[in-house]
Symmetry: C2
DNA sequence: TAGTTTATGATATTCATTTTCAATTGTCAA
DNA sequence: TTGACAATTGAAAATGAATATCATAAACTA
């Protein structure tokens, strides 16, 4: 079963309807896997394929997709929600955010596991998700500074 | 030199004036060291001491204090900025946020150091700050769930 | 295909934050 | 101490992202 079929099933399972708008929004997100698009950016891209769409529908759909585990909401402290396609490694990657040029670099690997285990034990806190961001200067901006 | 004197000096250094409003806002933040107050919460507390103050002044002052390194801005994904008094260990603590009751538990210790070193080397990214949050259920809420 | 329910688009609303601008208040030099 | 000038303030308006409202328009199901 491919991704789109899985998507259809997830909607049906919960009694949601399969609409053109939802399909187009999914397409845009799938075509931009490596990006971290904001709601507004998604709206702009969707309008190129389906100009009649309303902004509210995009917001509603992103909320729904998040609930269904289709997308994952990111927060880069730039005052807007950003989304990426959900994948299993999503919890295993962190983001490096350049304070100069705003570039977002993805980082795989979960070196947090030990830390999480320690927290669960010492604080009796059940961790479901984490949010790890590093702010600094990317290699390009570091070179410019020389 | 005590904290308040340091504060006065930081303002003067950059040509900013020492106003009653700024003093009262600092007092409120200092009296709530262990908390993570939002701008609105700070406004409410400040008004008890200085009712004439305007909301915009609080927002402006918090922005200024952040710039001067007097406070540190936190983001708990609840749609508002939160602040805490800047202290050197600020970079060394993380927050556990309960998804049920909203409690914020502070966690000391920096187990991220190894991870940061690895990033600086492999990604050529100079880390200045990090933001680490863990979401889950606190011990109280876990007990309630039983 | 009809009928019911869900979804949509346009618009209004909310909420946190920022901007505007005239009036006020610190600061520093005389 | 005063006066001048720049910085600061308060009130209100503006912004910007996100959400709610509501009448109309699609989807699904029998």
């Amino acid at each position: 079963m491919n991704e789109v079929e899985k998507f259809k099933e997830k909607l049906k399972d919960k009694g949601y309807k399969l609409t053109t708008q939802r399909r187009v929004i999914l397409d845009v997100i799938m075509e931009n896997r490596e990006k971290h698009l904001s709601s507004e950016e998604i709206y702009d891209l969707v309008r190129q394929k389906y100009p009649e769409i309303g902004l509210a529908t995009v917001y509603r759909t992103l909320l729904l997709f998040e609930e269904l585990g289709i997308v994952y909401k990111l927060n880069f402290d730039d005052g807007r929600n950003r989304y990426e396609l959900y994948h299993n490694e999503v919890h295993q990657h962190h983001h490096l955010i350049c304070l100069k040029c705003g570039a977002v670099i993805e980082m795989e690997g979960d070196l947090l596991e030990d830390l999480e285990k320690a927290i669960e034990e010492t604080k009796d806190f059940e961790i479901l998700d984490h949010n790890v961001k590093f702010f600094g200067y990317c290699s390009k901006c570091r070179k410019k500074n020389d």
